[in-house]
């Protein structure tokens, strides 16, 4: 009973739930503000995503008449819950140890595409042609970016596994522990291509500008989200905010999980700062500098550059022990 209560607390309040939601919405606000400053305008207040969520919660829900209503209602919850669990599994260095399981990294690999799957369900159940186009584009995008992600995760697992005397290490807690003792993997030249590949993977998985083909406002009118209004849309935005935290946290844990002296509060702030820096370089800067790519260009890009870089790292970890 006590254990159940503690699981519920960890999922709903501290590493998942309230904390991750607030951090994610804050990251989104910083992203919008910094983008505005890069374009030399004032920009919205940093708390703008919170206002958007509150407003969407108070709006009317309109269901499409010819859509599949149960699936239409279920899709946002699927993406949101998947990301809640993922936020609970992910460790925060110096604060929270994560799931401490043997294969939580593999679990993350299955949890990360949940929002994309939810978008596909939403698009195909909404009975809108734009939604269907958005869903098919999201599927193509997912096939493209999952391959470099898999190679990056395998490279990190093999690197830590070889160094600790095994074959591969799929536990986040062990990976963080190894890096706290032997220095972060980002300073290891064999892992640098994998880090670059991960940087290129981030905008794709978050659907931000060069790869936002699934939700392209000017082409498919926000695609799968087209028919959503009110609380359902708010759920999708919350899921996206959680995904921001999970993806940035994954980058921090895999490549630079260093801690700073002080208690758990300073380490939590340090984690937030590192997430924010990673976001500024991989999302905001790219978003300000680039326009959207076509679907075929996106697919070719992901299979050419990040996949090659990640495989180079994978090969180097295999041959240089």
């Amino acid at each position: 009973m006590k254990e159940l209560f503690s699981y519920a607390f960890h999922m709903l309040v501290f590493p998942g739930g309230v904390f991750a939601l607030c951090l994610g919405l804050l990251l989104k606000g910083v992203d919008r503000k910094v983008l505005a400053r890069m374009q030399r305008r004032v920009g919205p207040p940093i708390l703008q995503p919170f206002f958007d969520i509150v407003k969407l919660g108070r709006k009317e829900t309109i269901l499409p008449a010819s859509g599949h209503t149960p699936m239409f209602r279920f899709a946002p919850i699927l993406g949101f819950m998947g990301m809640m669990v993922a936020a609970m599994v992910l460790p925060i260095p110096g604060v929270w140890n994560g799931a401490e399981g043997l294969g939580d990294m593999l679990m993350m690999l299955y949890l990360l595409p949940m929002p994309a799957l939810a978008l596909m369900l939403a698009g195909s159940s909404s009975s809108s042609p734009y939604g269907a186009i958005g869903a098919s584009r999201e599927m193509i995008l997912m096939f493209a970016y999952e391959i470099p992600l898999l190679a990056v995760i395998l490279a990190v697992a093999f690197k830590v596994g070889h160094a600790t005397g095994g074959v591969a290490e799929f536990s986040f807690a062990k990976i963080v522990e190894y890096q706290l003792q032997n220095g972060s993997l980002i300073f290891d030249w064999t892992m640098f291509p994998a880090f670059l590949a991960f940087l290129m993977f981030i905008p794709g998985t978050l659907g931000s500008v060069p790869f936002d083909l699934a939700e392209a406002e000017t082409e498919v009118l926000e695609g799968p989200l087209l028919e959503y209004s009110g609380p359902g849309l708010a759920m999708f935005h919350l899921g996206a905010a959680l995904k921001m935290v999970v993806v940035m946290g994954l980058g921090v844990v895999m490549f630079f999980p260093g801690t700073i002296p002080g208690g758990w509060i300073t380490n939590m702030g340090w984690f937030a700062v590192k997430c924010m820096l990673l976001m500024l370089f991989s999302v905001t800067l790219v978003r300000a500098a680039m326009g959207r790519l076509r679907t075929d260009q996106t697919f070719k890009f992901y299979l050419k550059y990040p996949a090659t870089l990640a495989y180079v790292s994978l090969g180097l970890t295999y041959f240089i022990r």
Partner: protein, 145 residues
């Protein structure tokens, strides 16, 4: 009670804009595009954002005299916008018909078809006038959410 008021004031700071072109000559649409999309007259600082879908919208900006051909479509799109919503008529055409007034192809000014909250006259209105119209619509939006 206090929490409800706090939530209401938070919600009122996030109006999303949606544009309907009801047979406009594109002059007002260009002014609308330059109002929000260029850095100089940035309306994102008010929390506004142009959205692609009418189902996400809070403030509707309508340009053009409502021609007979688009009247039904305008009504249909307007009914897809979830309540509460605020309507802004941009340009002289939706207000009075402008130079197209009394034409056989104009079934009347906009407010005879849907309720209009704010009028922004001009042919086309200046970006500053559009921003003022959006700010007035914001004040109405605050009382409705």
């Amino acid at each position: 009670m206090q929490i409800a008021e706090k939530l209401q004031s938070m919600a009122a700071r996030s109006p999303w804009l949606y544009r309907i072109n009801a047979g406009s000559c594109n002059g007002c649409d260009v002014e609308l595009a330059t109002t929000a999309l260029i850095p100089r007259y940035d309306v994102e600082r008010l929390g506004c954002k142009y959205c692609g879908s009418p189902k996400h919208a809070d403030i509707v900006l309508i340009t053009g005299p409502v021609t007979a051909a688009v009247k039904d479509k305008v009504l249909r799109v307007y009914n897809e916008i979830p309540d509460p919503k605020v309507t802004v008529a941009v340009g002289i055409c939706p207000i009075s018909g402008g130079v197209f007034r009394d034409s056989y192809s104009i079934p009347g000014p906009l407010d005879s078809i849907i309720p209009v909250d704010v009028n922004v006259p001009g042919c086309p209105p200046r970006p500053q006038a559009i921003i003022e119209g959006v700010a007035k619509a914001l004040a109405i939006w605050k009382t409705r959410i």
